[in-house]
Amino acid sequence: MPRILSQVLKNLLRKPATVKYPYVRVKPPKGYRGAPVIDKEKCIRCWLCIRACPDRAISVNKETKKPSIWHGRCTFCGECAEVCPTRAITMTEDFELATYDIQRARSE
């Protein structure tokens, strides 16, 4: 019984272990592999990212001749960002990617 009382008091004074997520956001650590984005200006169309992607999430837009990443298929491994010779692809810290609109599931 005394053991329980001390635990109860400790738990009353302790902060909660969880955060109220949509209102309080925990920032991911540095180097987190979030949604990849492509800088179209830097892209030199070498298509190394397409070869490196393990799940064929990167495709080429026929009109603009630039690659775009389908986040619905991306596994966020970061191989494309690693292989890009001009660092046009970077992994952002964005992880809230759920959407109803299929156009928004694709990187611009």
Binding site: A17, P28, P29, Y32, R33, F76, C77, G78
Partner: protein
């Protein structure tokens, strides 16, 4: 007069689909059939359609909980085929991430085991402390679960010097809470009443059924691939193999909790002794025809990869034998003689991971009647 109690494919013990067919006399279990195959995803076939580099990420997806050990085993096997040795620093980083994975897997086991015996407070506490190790993994690899750190010929990310203090603080917290759980496991009445003398696997049966990992160590078998067949940095690291003699669910839990302490020591040691130097070397993907076997100690036991290459960028055959598969045969001797109420915790006692297991079908039947029925079901599946 016996009755048949079908449990599954959707069942109360686990969140994964599996079919158990228990034959009961009153409350007592007299026979058990296990049918696997509900989570079959055709991964081994998919392996032989992608190149070696893409397959790293496929092997990580065999099992979410033990993804690093899958990709490490795969990469070590491919390195063997290519005849290259990864740099020393890469081996240490792999060991650190694998041990962090073992800690989080065992804490996850503890949480679900507590949930199975109706002790939800312990479930919440164990999963709260699991967040510390998940945060460390996120910091070191950039992903909470899928680390994507391994690559053929080393690792992709270095451990930075500014990470080390955070690491040591996190390990301190984990050590404190693990010691608390060990005391709890030894003294709490609920745990002792629900876990001791349940699902006992004797040492003879553990040898006979070729059990692996914590299930074997809980029965007094001193087997650990890290010690018996050292890979990576493990021959330079010193650690004890935790064993218990009872073979019941309590012993399985105790082995896992003591392994968490060992893993914390290994991570500390690896951080201290880690040599400098490069973390990866370039490996050409045209791998000459050969075949190899690589085995490692996953959180659940021995994990084995067989890879056959044929001179191209794509492996000809990849075969994976996961630890859960090695432990399934022992399930019958754990169940027979027990009661229905202990089914969930005994199933969870071997820490089964069906998703990583479902590339095979195993039918274990004793009486003629059950054999015919199971064959009929098998035939229906094949259509």
């Amino acid at each position: 007069m016996t009755f048949v109690v079908p449990i599954g494919p959707q069942h109360p013990a686990l969140k994964e689909p599996e079919f158990f067919r228990f034959e009961v006399r009153g409350e007592e279990i007299v026979d058990v059939d296990i049918h696997l195959g509900y989570a079959h995803r055709g991964i081994e076939e998919a392996f032989s359609r992608r190149n070696y580099k893409h397959n790293i990420y496929l092997s990580e997806r065999i099992c979410g909980i033990c993804n690093v050990v899958h990709s490490t085993t795969y990469c070590q096997a491919v390195e063997q085929l290519a005849g290259v040795e990864p740099p020393e620093r890469a081996k240490y980083i792999r060991a650190i991430i694998m041990e962090l994975e073992r800690i989080h897997s065992h804490l996850l086991w503890l949480g679900i085991a507590a949930h199975q015996i109706g002790f939800n407070t312990l479930f919440m506490l164990a999963w709260r402390d699991r967040e510390y190790v998940m945060d460390l993994r996120e910091m070191i690899s950039g992903g909470r679960v899928h680390s994507a750190t391994n690559t053929i010929g080393g690792v992709r990310r270095d451990v930075k010097i500014e990470h080390v203090p955070t690491f040591l603080r996190g390990l301190e917290k984990l050590e404190q809470s693990t010691n608390y759980y060990i005391n709890l496991f030894k003294s709490d009445r609920t745990i002792l009443a629900r876990c001791t003398n349940l699902g006992v696997l004797s040492k003879e049966d553990a040898i006979k059924f070729c059990t692996v990992g914590p299930t074997a160590r809980a029965s007094g078998l001193k087997t650990d691939i890290r010690r018996d067949d050292p890979y990576g940095a493990y021959d330079a690291l010193s650690f004890d193999v935790a064993i218990e003699r009872d073979g019941d669910v309590w012993a399985k839990g105790m082995v896992r909790l003591r392994e968490i302490l060992e893993s914390i020591q290994i991570v500390r040691q690896a951080l201290k002794e880690m040599p400098g130097g490069p973390i990866r070397i370039r490996v050409g993907l045209q791998i000459p025809p050969n075949e190899t076997i690589e085995r490692t100690e996953a959180p659940r036991g021995e994990l084995l990869y067989y890879i056959r290459s044929n001179g191209t960028e794509i492996p000809e055959r990849v075969r994976v034998r996961t630890p859960t598969y090695g432990n399934f045969a022992s399930m019958k001797s754990m169940f027979v003689g027990g009661t229905i109420a202990e089914i969930p915790i005994v199933i969870w006692g071997i820490d089964p991971c069906f998703a990583c297991n479902d590339r095979v079908t195993l039918v274990d039947s004793r009486t003629g009647k059950t054999r015919i029925a199971s064959f009929d079901e098998l035939r229906r599946w094949r259509k």
